[in-house]
Amino acid sequence: MTSEELAADLERRAGAAEDTQPSGADVARERFLVFAAGESSFALPPSAVREIVPGLTVFPVPGCPAYVPGLVNCHGKPYTVIDLRVLFENERQAADQFLVLNLENDDVALGCTEVEEIVEVAQSALSSFAANDAAGRFCSAMLEHGDRRIPVLAIAQILKELEHDLA
């Protein structure tokens, strides 16, 4: 192999390596809406939320578990409200905003006190975990964002729990 051939080979290899090297844009990234319910923060994919509505009155509904304080009237339609603070920490938290969820088969809104931000993180910032507490049962992953660890809600699991508790 001549030096010219060697140089060409090295250049080719370097090019190939560059092609396979993940660039910043190629790293799989996901976006999350981060919101607070009292002192706790939670995350959801933005596509899971249809609308954020402030200042709705919650009307009680008999026969519901404690984490369902009642219904809200959103554009003339009743939505089941879920209080995440009760679900996770058994502490009631009056909500002043409501995240109306994008669900096909139900009308549900999550009470929240503040919509914090939309973050974009690499998939490596998401860790799965196996815990038996509420965080483990109702979350699909833990989002590492700066020095914060934010649970990503598993809405399907929460609705399954609600169905069980209402039966």
Binding site: F59, P60, P62, G63, L71, G76, Y79, D106, E163, L166
Partner: protein, 152 residues
């Protein structure tokens, strides 16, 4: 399909309860004279009017348990709304609040969200109606409550 339905509206302070007027075949303000010592408007037991004995449903404690109504005691003489259950049993629903008969558009009724409808609340609440931004009315399925022997 009718465009409107008739209901008895009970004002519970921050919220209202609607009872479908079509569920009742009559009303009475007192039992037949001499029907028996436990046959009265008060307490549990039976209520006999025009010779027919009804199982009593005391709406007030049910509503208090369900909704914790804040409406003041109006000191109104109770009324017994008389109802035929699907099983053939007769019920007398004792209402100790002021009420009015209203005619409401069907299109203003909203079913509960699907999750609640499939569970306990759906067995007793037929629908809700928003009466302005800060008021909700509950259309109670009193027949289901009476027949099921359950309360919301």
């Amino acid at each position: 399909m009718p465009e409107e339905f008739s209901a008895f509206l009970l004002d519970l302070g921050p919220l209202d309860v609607l009872l479908c007027a079509g569920d009742f075949y009559g009303a009475a303000s007192e039992p037949d004279p001499g029907a028996g010592p436990d046959d009265s408007m008060a307490g549990t037991g039976r209520f006999t009017t025009k010779g027919r004995t009804h199982e009593k449903i005391l709406l007030e404690p049910i509503l208090q348990r369900c909704f914790a109504p804040e409406a003041p005691d109006e000191g109104i003489a109770p009324t017994a709304f008389l109802m035929n259950g699907a099983s053939g049993k007769a019920f007398a629903c004792i209402v100790e609040r002021g009420f009015e008969m209203v005619s409401l558009p069907m299109k203003e009724l909203r079913l509960l969200p699907a999750g609640l409808r499939r569970g306990r609340p759906g067995r007793n609440i037929m629908a809700v109606r928003f009466a302005g931004e800060n008021r909700m009315q509950y259309l109670i399925d009193l027949k289901a409550m009476a027949e099921g022997g359950s309360t919301p």
